[in-house]
Protein backbone atom coordinates (compact mmCIF):
# COMPACT_ATOMS: atom_id res chain seq x y z
CA UNK A 1 0.00 0.00 0.00
CA UNK A 2 2.81 2.34 0.94
CA UNK A 3 4.47 1.80 -2.41
CA UNK A 4 1.21 2.56 -4.23
CA UNK A 5 1.16 5.91 -2.42
CA UNK A 6 4.75 6.53 -3.48
CA UNK A 7 3.75 5.73 -7.05
CA UNK A 8 0.82 8.10 -6.72
CA UNK A 9 3.22 10.89 -5.73
CA UNK A 10 5.58 9.95 -8.56
CA UNK A 11 2.59 10.13 -10.85
CA UNK A 12 2.32 13.83 -10.12
CA UNK A 13 5.56 14.48 -11.97
CA UNK A 14 4.27 12.49 -14.97
CA UNK A 15 1.08 14.55 -14.78
CA UNK A 16 3.17 17.72 -14.63
CA UNK A 17 5.09 16.78 -17.79
CA UNK A 18 1.84 15.93 -19.58
CA UNK A 19 0.35 19.27 -18.57
CA UNK A 20 3.38 21.27 -19.69
CA UNK A 21 3.51 19.37 -22.99
CA UNK A 22 -0.23 19.52 -23.71
CA UNK A 23 -1.22 23.05 -22.73
CA UNK A 24 0.35 24.68 -25.80
CA UNK A 25 -1.34 22.23 -28.13
CA UNK A 26 -4.64 22.74 -26.32
CA UNK A 27 -4.52 26.52 -26.62
CA UNK A 28 -3.68 26.49 -30.33
CA UNK A 29 -6.39 23.96 -31.05
CA UNK A 30 -8.95 25.55 -28.75
CA UNK A 31 -8.63 29.08 -30.10
CA UNK A 32 -7.21 28.95 -33.61
CA UNK A 33 -8.72 25.57 -34.46
CA UNK A 34 -5.45 24.16 -35.76
CA UNK A 35 -4.29 20.67 -34.86
CA UNK A 36 -0.58 21.31 -34.76
CA UNK A 37 1.03 18.07 -35.94
CA UNK A 38 4.44 19.73 -35.53
CA UNK A 39 3.86 20.04 -31.77
CA UNK A 40 6.31 17.25 -30.98
CA UNK A 41 8.95 18.90 -33.12
CA UNK A 42 8.32 22.25 -31.42
CA UNK A 43 9.04 20.46 -28.13
CA UNK A 44 12.17 18.99 -29.73
CA UNK A 45 13.38 22.43 -30.85
CA UNK A 46 12.85 23.63 -27.28
CA UNK A 47 15.01 20.76 -26.03
CA UNK A 48 17.80 21.55 -28.53
CA UNK A 49 17.58 25.18 -27.45
CA UNK A 50 18.15 23.99 -23.89
CA UNK A 51 21.12 21.91 -25.10
CA UNK A 52 22.66 24.97 -26.74
CA UNK A 53 22.02 27.08 -23.66
CA UNK A 54 23.66 24.31 -21.62
CA UNK A 55 26.77 24.29 -23.81
CA UNK A 56 27.01 28.04 -23.44
CA UNK A 57 27.04 27.57 -19.69
CA UNK A 58 23.41 28.32 -18.86
CA UNK A 59 21.12 26.00 -16.91
CA UNK A 60 17.46 25.02 -17.15
CA UNK A 61 16.30 28.22 -15.46
CA UNK A 62 17.85 30.22 -18.30
CA UNK A 63 16.83 27.69 -20.94
CA UNK A 64 13.12 28.00 -20.09
CA UNK A 65 12.65 31.65 -21.16
CA UNK A 66 15.10 31.28 -24.07
CA UNK A 67 13.29 28.18 -25.38
CA UNK A 68 9.96 29.96 -24.96
CA UNK A 69 11.14 32.87 -27.10
CA UNK A 70 12.91 30.75 -29.73
CA UNK A 71 9.97 28.40 -30.29
CA UNK A 72 7.41 31.23 -30.08
CA UNK A 73 9.33 32.94 -32.87
CA UNK A 74 9.40 29.66 -34.80
CA UNK A 75 5.63 29.34 -34.33
CA UNK A 76 5.16 32.92 -35.47
CA UNK A 77 7.14 32.26 -38.65
CA UNK A 78 5.18 29.07 -39.38
CA UNK A 79 1.87 30.86 -38.76
CA UNK A 80 2.70 33.88 -40.93
CA UNK A 81 4.25 31.89 -43.77
CA UNK A 82 1.85 28.91 -43.96
CA UNK A 83 -0.99 28.57 -41.49
CA UNK A 84 -2.57 32.01 -41.92
CA UNK A 85 -3.57 31.11 -45.49
CA UNK A 86 -5.26 27.80 -44.63
CA UNK A 87 -7.08 28.35 -41.31
CA UNK A 88 -10.42 27.58 -42.91
CA UNK A 89 -9.27 24.18 -44.19
CA UNK A 90 -8.62 21.82 -41.24
CA UNK A 91 -7.34 18.94 -43.35
CA UNK A 92 -4.74 21.13 -44.99
CA UNK A 93 -3.56 22.57 -41.65
CA UNK A 94 -3.11 18.99 -40.48
CA UNK A 95 -0.97 18.06 -43.48
CA UNK A 96 0.92 21.36 -43.55
CA UNK A 97 1.90 21.20 -39.88
CA UNK A 98 2.90 17.57 -40.30
CA UNK A 99 5.14 18.66 -43.16
CA UNK A 100 6.59 21.43 -41.00
CA UNK A 101 7.39 18.79 -38.37
CA UNK A 102 9.27 16.64 -40.88
CA UNK A 103 11.21 19.66 -42.16
CA UNK A 104 12.14 20.64 -38.60
CA UNK A 105 13.47 17.15 -37.86
CA UNK A 106 15.65 17.20 -40.95
CA UNK A 107 16.91 20.73 -40.46
CA UNK A 108 17.79 20.09 -36.80
CA UNK A 109 19.56 16.87 -37.78
CA UNK A 110 21.56 18.78 -40.44
CA UNK A 111 22.63 21.41 -37.93
CA UNK A 112 23.29 19.27 -34.85
CA UNK A 113 24.11 15.90 -36.39
CA UNK A 114 22.54 12.54 -35.52
CA UNK A 115 24.17 12.14 -32.09
CA UNK A 116 22.22 12.46 -28.86
CA UNK A 117 22.71 15.44 -26.59
CA UNK A 118 22.63 15.28 -22.84
CA UNK A 119 21.66 18.22 -20.70
CA UNK A 120 22.28 18.27 -16.98
CA UNK A 121 19.69 19.40 -14.47
CA UNK A 122 20.59 22.52 -12.48
CA UNK A 123 22.94 21.68 -9.56
CA UNK A 124 20.56 23.10 -7.02
CA UNK A 125 17.98 20.47 -8.05
CA UNK A 126 20.38 17.51 -7.73
CA UNK A 127 19.39 14.71 -5.42
CA UNK A 128 16.04 14.40 -3.71
CA UNK A 129 14.20 14.11 -0.47
CA UNK A 130 12.51 11.19 1.19
CA UNK A 131 8.77 11.08 1.36
CA UNK A 132 7.01 8.19 2.98
CA UNK A 133 8.49 4.90 1.97
CA UNK A 134 12.04 4.25 0.95
CA UNK A 135 12.33 5.76 -2.51
CA UNK A 136 13.71 9.28 -2.67
CA UNK A 137 11.70 11.85 -4.54
CA UNK A 138 13.99 13.89 -6.84
CA UNK A 139 13.99 17.66 -6.46
CA UNK A 140 13.81 18.01 -10.22
CA UNK A 141 10.42 16.27 -10.25
CA UNK A 142 9.16 18.59 -7.57
CA UNK A 143 10.41 21.45 -9.72
CA UNK A 144 8.41 20.09 -12.70
CA UNK A 145 5.27 19.91 -10.59
CA UNK A 146 5.70 23.49 -9.40
CA UNK A 147 6.49 24.69 -12.93
CA UNK A 148 3.36 22.98 -14.30
CA UNK A 149 1.25 24.71 -11.68
CA UNK A 150 2.89 28.07 -12.42
CA UNK A 151 2.34 27.66 -16.18
CA UNK A 152 -1.32 26.78 -15.68
CA UNK A 153 -1.85 29.76 -13.36
CA UNK A 154 -0.06 32.19 -15.68
CA UNK A 155 -2.04 30.88 -18.66
CA UNK A 156 -5.25 31.21 -16.67
CA UNK A 157 -4.40 34.79 -15.71
CA UNK A 158 -3.60 35.71 -19.30
CA UNK A 159 -6.84 34.20 -20.57
CA UNK A 160 -9.14 35.53 -17.87
CA UNK A 161 -7.57 38.72 -16.50
CA UNK A 162 -6.10 40.52 -19.50
CA UNK A 163 -7.49 42.34 -22.53
CA UNK A 164 -5.76 39.84 -24.80
CA UNK A 165 -7.48 37.00 -22.94
CA UNK A 166 -10.85 38.71 -23.31
CA UNK A 167 -10.32 38.97 -27.07
CA UNK A 168 -9.17 35.34 -27.18
CA UNK A 169 -12.27 34.15 -25.36
CA UNK A 170 -14.53 36.21 -27.62
CA UNK A 171 -12.84 34.87 -30.76
CA UNK A 172 -12.93 31.31 -29.47
CA UNK A 173 -16.67 31.43 -28.86
CA UNK A 174 -17.87 33.50 -31.81
CA UNK A 175 -15.21 34.36 -34.35
CA UNK A 176 -17.45 36.26 -36.77
CA UNK A 177 -19.09 38.38 -34.10
CA UNK A 178 -15.76 39.15 -32.45
CA UNK A 179 -14.64 40.51 -35.82
CA UNK A 180 -17.87 42.52 -36.07
CA UNK A 181 -17.02 44.10 -32.71
CA UNK A 182 -13.70 45.28 -34.13
CA UNK A 183 -11.41 42.50 -32.94
CA UNK A 184 -8.62 41.70 -35.39
CA UNK A 185 -9.20 37.96 -35.28
CA UNK A 186 -6.22 37.17 -37.52
CA UNK A 187 -3.94 38.92 -35.07
CA UNK A 188 -5.44 36.99 -32.15
CA UNK A 189 -4.82 33.73 -34.02
CA UNK A 190 -1.24 34.77 -34.69
CA UNK A 191 -0.51 35.67 -31.07
CA UNK A 192 -2.11 32.47 -29.80
CA UNK A 193 -0.13 30.33 -32.25
CA UNK A 194 3.11 31.95 -31.11
CA UNK A 195 2.18 31.67 -27.43
CA UNK A 196 1.15 28.01 -27.71
CA UNK A 197 4.36 27.26 -29.61
CA UNK A 198 6.40 28.99 -26.91
CA UNK A 199 4.78 26.74 -24.30
CA UNK A 200 5.88 23.71 -26.35
CA UNK A 201 9.37 25.21 -26.20
CA UNK A 202 9.22 25.31 -22.39
CA UNK A 203 8.15 21.66 -22.41
CA UNK A 204 11.24 20.81 -24.48
CA UNK A 205 13.54 22.81 -22.21
CA UNK A 206 12.44 20.98 -19.06
CA UNK A 207 12.37 17.57 -20.75
CA UNK A 208 15.97 17.92 -21.93
CA UNK A 209 17.53 17.02 -18.53
CA UNK A 210 15.40 13.87 -18.12
CA UNK A 211 15.55 12.62 -21.71
CA UNK A 212 18.37 12.35 -24.19
CA UNK A 213 17.84 15.08 -26.75
CA UNK A 214 17.27 13.75 -30.26
CA UNK A 215 15.32 14.85 -33.32
CA UNK A 216 12.58 12.29 -32.71
CA UNK A 217 12.23 12.85 -28.95
CA UNK A 218 9.09 15.01 -29.29
CA UNK A 219 6.87 12.41 -30.91
CA UNK A 220 5.79 10.43 -27.80
CA UNK A 221 4.98 13.69 -26.02
CA UNK A 222 2.91 14.87 -28.97
CA UNK A 223 0.95 11.61 -28.85
CA UNK A 224 0.45 11.94 -25.10
CA UNK A 225 -0.67 15.56 -25.57
CA UNK A 226 -3.25 14.50 -28.14
CA UNK A 227 -4.57 11.88 -25.71
CA UNK A 228 -4.83 14.52 -22.99
CA UNK A 229 -6.85 16.71 -25.35
CA UNK A 230 -9.11 13.91 -26.50
CA UNK A 231 -9.85 12.86 -22.93
CA UNK A 232 -10.03 16.30 -21.32
CA UNK A 233 -11.72 18.08 -24.20
CA UNK A 234 -10.47 21.13 -26.05
CA UNK A 235 -11.14 24.74 -25.27
CA UNK A 236 -10.73 24.46 -21.52
CA UNK A 237 -7.73 24.60 -19.22
CA UNK A 238 -9.61 22.30 -16.85
CA UNK A 239 -9.67 19.77 -19.66
CA UNK A 240 -5.88 19.83 -19.78
CA UNK A 241 -5.66 19.43 -15.99
CA UNK A 242 -8.20 16.61 -15.90
CA UNK A 243 -6.82 14.80 -18.94
CA UNK A 244 -3.22 15.01 -17.73
CA UNK A 245 -4.21 14.02 -14.21
CA UNK A 246 -6.17 10.94 -15.19
CA UNK A 247 -3.76 9.71 -17.85
CA UNK A 248 -0.61 10.45 -15.84
CA UNK A 249 -1.78 8.81 -12.63
CA UNK A 250 -3.43 5.84 -14.31
CA UNK A 251 -0.35 5.14 -16.38
CA UNK A 252 2.04 5.42 -13.44
CA UNK A 253 0.04 3.24 -11.07
CA UNK A 254 -0.98 0.64 -13.65
CA UNK A 255 2.59 0.41 -14.91
CA UNK A 256 3.72 -0.23 -11.33
CA UNK A 257 1.12 -2.93 -10.71
CA UNK A 258 1.57 -4.69 -14.07
CA UNK A 259 4.25 -3.33 -16.38
CA UNK A 260 4.63 -0.31 -18.60
CA UNK A 261 3.25 -1.99 -21.75
CA UNK A 262 0.10 -3.24 -20.05
CA UNK A 263 -0.17 0.08 -18.21
CA UNK A 264 -0.19 2.00 -21.47
CA UNK A 265 -2.61 -0.48 -23.05
CA UNK A 266 -5.06 -0.15 -20.17
CA UNK A 267 -4.87 3.63 -20.40
CA UNK A 268 -5.67 3.49 -24.12
CA UNK A 269 -8.67 1.25 -23.44
CA UNK A 270 -9.77 3.60 -20.69
CA UNK A 271 -9.58 6.57 -23.10
CA UNK A 272 -11.55 4.75 -25.78
CA UNK A 273 -14.31 4.02 -23.28
CA UNK A 274 -14.19 7.57 -21.93
CA UNK A 275 -14.64 9.21 -25.33
CA UNK A 276 -17.47 6.81 -26.06
CA UNK A 277 -19.25 8.22 -23.01
CA UNK A 278 -18.00 11.84 -23.36
CA UNK A 279 -17.58 12.37 -27.12
CA UNK A 280 -16.32 15.92 -26.63
CA UNK A 281 -14.04 15.07 -23.74
CA UNK A 282 -14.64 15.75 -20.08
CA UNK A 283 -14.64 19.55 -20.38
CA UNK A 284 -14.88 20.19 -24.09
CA UNK A 285 -17.47 21.98 -26.16
CA UNK A 286 -15.76 24.00 -28.83
CA UNK A 287 -15.39 23.44 -32.53
CA UNK A 288 -14.30 25.97 -35.09
CA UNK A 289 -17.12 26.40 -37.60
Amino acid sequence: MESIITQFLNGFSVVAILMIAAVGLAIIFGVAGVINMAHGEFIMVGAYTAAVVGQLGGNTFIAIPVAFLVVALLGLIVERSIIQWIYERPLETLLATWGVGIILQVVVKLIFGPELYYVGAPKILDGGFRTIGLLPFPWYRLFLIILAIVIMIVTYLILFKTDLGLKVRAVRRNRTMAGCLGIDTAKVDMIIFAFGSGLAGIAGAVLAPIKSVSTTMGFPYAVDSFMVLVLGGVGSLWGVVAGSGLIGEAETILSFIYNSVIGKLLVFIFIVIAIRVFPKGLFGYHERT
Partner: protein, 232 residues
Protein backbone atom coordinates in the same frame (compact mmCIF):
# COMPACT_ATOMS: atom_id res chain seq x y z
CA UNK B 1 -20.48 61.53 -47.82
CA UNK B 2 -21.93 58.78 -45.71
CA UNK B 3 -22.17 55.30 -47.17
CA UNK B 4 -22.23 54.88 -50.95
CA UNK B 5 -22.73 51.38 -52.32
CA UNK B 6 -22.15 51.13 -56.06
CA UNK B 7 -23.25 48.06 -58.03
CA UNK B 8 -22.07 45.30 -55.70
CA UNK B 9 -22.27 41.58 -56.52
CA UNK B 10 -21.99 39.16 -53.62
CA UNK B 11 -21.77 35.38 -53.68
CA UNK B 12 -22.19 32.60 -51.12
CA UNK B 13 -19.82 30.04 -52.51
CA UNK B 14 -21.03 29.74 -56.09
CA UNK B 15 -24.54 31.08 -55.64
CA UNK B 16 -25.01 34.67 -56.72
CA UNK B 17 -26.93 36.53 -53.98
CA UNK B 18 -26.65 40.28 -54.65
CA UNK B 19 -26.95 41.49 -58.23
CA UNK B 20 -25.57 44.97 -58.72
CA UNK B 21 -26.98 46.60 -55.60
CA UNK B 22 -26.63 50.37 -55.43
CA UNK B 23 -27.70 52.27 -52.32
CA UNK B 24 -26.76 55.44 -50.48
CA UNK B 25 -27.05 56.21 -46.79
CA UNK B 26 -26.24 59.92 -46.48
CA UNK B 27 -24.70 61.26 -43.28
CA UNK B 28 -27.30 61.47 -40.56
CA UNK B 29 -29.99 59.66 -42.53
CA UNK B 30 -32.04 56.66 -41.53
CA UNK B 31 -32.72 54.28 -44.40
CA UNK B 32 -34.73 51.10 -44.21
CA UNK B 33 -34.43 48.02 -46.38
CA UNK B 34 -37.53 45.90 -46.82
CA UNK B 35 -38.29 42.67 -48.61
CA UNK B 36 -39.38 39.09 -48.19
CA UNK B 37 -37.19 36.49 -46.53
CA UNK B 38 -34.25 35.31 -48.59
CA UNK B 39 -34.01 38.26 -50.98
CA UNK B 40 -30.58 39.31 -49.78
CA UNK B 41 -31.24 41.93 -47.09
CA UNK B 42 -28.97 40.35 -44.50
CA UNK B 43 -26.36 39.61 -47.15
CA UNK B 44 -26.34 43.30 -48.04
CA UNK B 45 -25.41 44.20 -44.45
CA UNK B 46 -22.84 41.40 -44.32
CA UNK B 47 -21.29 42.71 -47.52
CA UNK B 48 -21.00 46.19 -46.06
CA UNK B 49 -19.42 45.05 -42.79
CA UNK B 50 -17.07 42.66 -44.60
CA UNK B 51 -18.26 39.26 -43.36
CA UNK B 52 -19.17 38.45 -46.93
CA UNK B 53 -17.39 41.06 -49.03
CA UNK B 54 -18.65 41.79 -52.54
CA UNK B 55 -16.89 40.38 -55.57
CA UNK B 56 -17.59 43.34 -57.84
CA UNK B 57 -18.65 46.91 -57.27
CA UNK B 58 -17.49 49.36 -54.66
CA UNK B 59 -18.39 50.53 -51.18
CA UNK B 60 -17.34 54.00 -50.12
CA UNK B 61 -17.57 55.28 -46.56
CA UNK B 62 -17.07 58.97 -45.91
CA UNK B 63 -15.22 59.30 -49.20
CA UNK B 64 -12.81 56.38 -48.70
CA UNK B 65 -13.02 53.14 -50.69
CA UNK B 66 -13.60 50.40 -48.08
CA UNK B 67 -14.69 47.59 -50.42
CA UNK B 68 -11.75 45.34 -49.59
CA UNK B 69 -11.36 46.25 -45.91
CA UNK B 70 -11.58 43.59 -43.22
CA UNK B 71 -14.48 43.54 -40.77
CA UNK B 72 -12.53 45.00 -37.86
CA UNK B 73 -11.28 47.83 -40.07
CA UNK B 74 -14.86 48.79 -40.93
CA UNK B 75 -15.70 48.86 -37.25
CA UNK B 76 -12.72 51.08 -36.43
CA UNK B 77 -13.73 53.38 -39.29
CA UNK B 78 -17.06 53.96 -37.57
CA UNK B 79 -19.49 51.31 -38.82
CA UNK B 80 -21.08 49.15 -36.14
CA UNK B 81 -23.22 46.12 -36.86
CA UNK B 82 -26.07 44.51 -34.95
CA UNK B 83 -26.64 41.11 -36.54
CA UNK B 84 -29.82 39.16 -36.84
CA UNK B 85 -30.12 36.84 -33.87
CA UNK B 86 -28.10 39.26 -31.71
CA UNK B 87 -25.01 37.02 -31.44
CA UNK B 88 -24.29 37.76 -27.81
CA UNK B 89 -21.17 35.89 -26.75
CA UNK B 90 -22.82 33.51 -24.30
CA UNK B 91 -20.09 32.42 -21.89
CA UNK B 92 -18.62 35.79 -21.07
CA UNK B 93 -20.37 38.34 -18.85
CA UNK B 94 -22.49 41.26 -20.00
CA UNK B 95 -19.70 43.58 -18.83
CA UNK B 96 -17.17 41.60 -20.86
CA UNK B 97 -19.41 41.65 -23.94
CA UNK B 98 -19.37 45.46 -23.69
CA UNK B 99 -15.62 45.48 -23.03
CA UNK B 100 -14.93 43.45 -26.19
CA UNK B 101 -16.78 46.12 -28.17
CA UNK B 102 -14.72 48.87 -26.52
CA UNK B 103 -11.41 47.08 -27.11
CA UNK B 104 -12.53 46.62 -30.71
CA UNK B 105 -12.29 50.36 -31.24
CA UNK B 106 -9.10 50.59 -29.17
CA UNK B 107 -10.83 52.17 -26.20
CA UNK B 108 -8.83 50.95 -23.19
CA UNK B 109 -11.09 52.25 -20.46
CA UNK B 110 -12.28 49.76 -17.85
CA UNK B 111 -15.42 51.75 -17.18
CA UNK B 112 -18.55 51.48 -19.24
CA UNK B 113 -19.60 55.01 -20.29
CA UNK B 114 -22.58 56.28 -18.34
CA UNK B 115 -24.71 57.01 -21.40
CA UNK B 116 -25.02 53.28 -22.09
CA UNK B 117 -27.03 52.80 -18.91
CA UNK B 118 -29.10 55.87 -19.64
CA UNK B 119 -30.35 54.09 -22.74
CA UNK B 120 -30.45 50.66 -21.13
CA UNK B 121 -31.00 50.95 -17.36
CA UNK B 122 -32.09 47.31 -17.31
CA UNK B 123 -28.57 46.19 -18.25
CA UNK B 124 -26.84 47.82 -15.30
CA UNK B 125 -27.73 45.18 -12.70
CA UNK B 126 -27.00 42.31 -15.12
CA UNK B 127 -23.34 43.21 -15.74
CA UNK B 128 -21.86 40.25 -13.91
CA UNK B 129 -24.20 37.69 -15.46
CA UNK B 130 -23.25 35.61 -18.49
CA UNK B 131 -24.53 36.97 -21.79
CA UNK B 132 -26.17 33.66 -22.59
CA UNK B 133 -28.59 33.70 -19.64
CA UNK B 134 -30.26 37.01 -20.53
CA UNK B 135 -33.79 37.09 -21.94
CA UNK B 136 -34.29 37.80 -25.64
CA UNK B 137 -35.20 41.42 -24.96
CA UNK B 138 -32.18 41.95 -22.71
CA UNK B 139 -29.92 40.31 -25.28
CA UNK B 140 -31.20 42.69 -27.93
CA UNK B 141 -30.56 45.62 -25.60
CA UNK B 142 -27.05 44.31 -25.03
CA UNK B 143 -26.51 43.87 -28.78
CA UNK B 144 -27.52 47.50 -29.36
CA UNK B 145 -25.48 48.67 -26.36
CA UNK B 146 -22.43 46.85 -27.72
CA UNK B 147 -22.73 48.75 -30.98
CA UNK B 148 -23.58 52.05 -29.32
CA UNK B 149 -20.56 51.92 -27.01
CA UNK B 150 -18.41 52.16 -30.15
CA UNK B 151 -20.00 55.55 -30.92
CA UNK B 152 -20.41 54.68 -34.60
CA UNK B 153 -21.24 57.18 -37.31
CA UNK B 154 -23.19 54.45 -39.13
CA UNK B 155 -25.19 51.69 -37.50
CA UNK B 156 -26.26 48.58 -39.43
CA UNK B 157 -29.24 46.82 -37.85
CA UNK B 158 -30.61 43.49 -39.01
CA UNK B 159 -34.20 42.98 -37.84
CA UNK B 160 -33.63 44.21 -34.29
CA UNK B 161 -37.15 43.37 -33.10
CA UNK B 162 -37.45 39.91 -34.60
CA UNK B 163 -38.84 37.34 -32.20
CA UNK B 164 -39.47 39.76 -29.33
CA UNK B 165 -42.75 40.27 -27.49
CA UNK B 166 -44.78 43.36 -28.51
CA UNK B 167 -44.05 45.50 -25.43
CA UNK B 168 -40.31 44.91 -25.88
CA UNK B 169 -40.56 45.68 -29.60
CA UNK B 170 -41.98 49.09 -28.76
CA UNK B 171 -39.22 49.75 -26.25
CA UNK B 172 -36.49 48.82 -28.74
CA UNK B 173 -38.07 50.95 -31.45
CA UNK B 174 -38.15 53.97 -29.14
CA UNK B 175 -34.49 53.45 -28.35
CA UNK B 176 -33.56 53.19 -32.04
CA UNK B 177 -35.29 56.53 -32.66
CA UNK B 178 -33.53 58.11 -29.70
CA UNK B 179 -30.14 56.83 -30.84
CA UNK B 180 -30.70 58.24 -34.30
CA UNK B 181 -31.64 61.66 -32.95
CA UNK B 182 -29.31 61.94 -29.97
CA UNK B 183 -26.13 60.11 -31.00
CA UNK B 184 -25.66 61.78 -34.37
CA UNK B 185 -25.57 58.45 -36.11
CA UNK B 186 -26.94 57.34 -39.46
CA UNK B 187 -28.77 54.03 -39.51
CA UNK B 188 -29.31 51.38 -42.16
CA UNK B 189 -32.15 49.26 -40.89
CA UNK B 190 -33.38 45.93 -42.22
CA UNK B 191 -36.91 45.61 -40.94
CA UNK B 192 -40.20 43.82 -41.66
CA UNK B 193 -42.48 46.06 -39.60
CA UNK B 194 -44.02 48.54 -42.05
CA UNK B 195 -45.56 50.81 -39.42
CA UNK B 196 -42.28 51.26 -37.63
CA UNK B 197 -40.40 51.85 -40.87
CA UNK B 198 -42.90 54.56 -41.81
CA UNK B 199 -42.64 56.12 -38.36
CA UNK B 200 -38.93 56.52 -38.19
CA UNK B 201 -37.16 56.32 -41.54
CA UNK B 202 -36.91 59.03 -44.17
CA UNK B 203 -35.96 56.79 -47.05
CA UNK B 204 -36.70 53.19 -47.99
CA UNK B 205 -35.45 50.54 -50.39
CA UNK B 206 -37.25 47.33 -51.31
CA UNK B 207 -35.26 44.27 -52.34
CA UNK B 208 -36.34 41.31 -54.41
CA UNK B 209 -34.14 38.47 -55.71
CA UNK B 210 -30.92 40.19 -54.75
CA UNK B 211 -31.74 43.52 -56.36
CA UNK B 212 -33.16 46.80 -55.20
CA UNK B 213 -36.44 47.06 -57.05
CA UNK B 214 -37.91 50.23 -55.55
CA UNK B 215 -36.60 53.07 -53.47
CA UNK B 216 -37.68 56.53 -52.52
CA UNK B 217 -38.98 58.86 -49.86
CA UNK B 218 -40.96 57.20 -47.16
CA UNK B 219 -44.24 58.96 -48.22
CA UNK B 220 -44.31 56.71 -51.30
CA UNK B 221 -44.45 53.61 -49.13
CA UNK B 222 -48.21 53.10 -49.00
CA UNK B 223 -49.71 49.78 -47.97
CA UNK B 224 -50.70 48.98 -51.55
CA UNK B 225 -47.29 49.82 -52.88
CA UNK B 226 -45.48 47.76 -50.28
CA UNK B 227 -47.96 44.90 -50.69
CA UNK B 228 -46.73 44.27 -54.22
CA UNK B 229 -43.35 43.20 -52.86
CA UNK B 230 -43.92 42.18 -49.30
CA UNK B 231 -47.07 40.05 -49.29
CA UNK B 232 -46.38 36.37 -49.24
Amino acid sequence: MGLEIQGIDTFYGTSHILHGVTLNVPDGAMVSVLGRNGVGKSTLLKSIIGINPPKNGSIQFNGADVTKEKTHQHVRAGISYIPQGREIIPDISVYENLMVAMRGIKNRSKKIPAFIFEYFPALEPTQKRKGGVLSGGQQQQLAIARALIQEPSLLLMDEPTEGLQPSVVEEINTIIQRIHKERNCSILLVEQNLDFVRDVTEHFAIMDSGQIVEEGDIQLLTDEFAGQYLSV
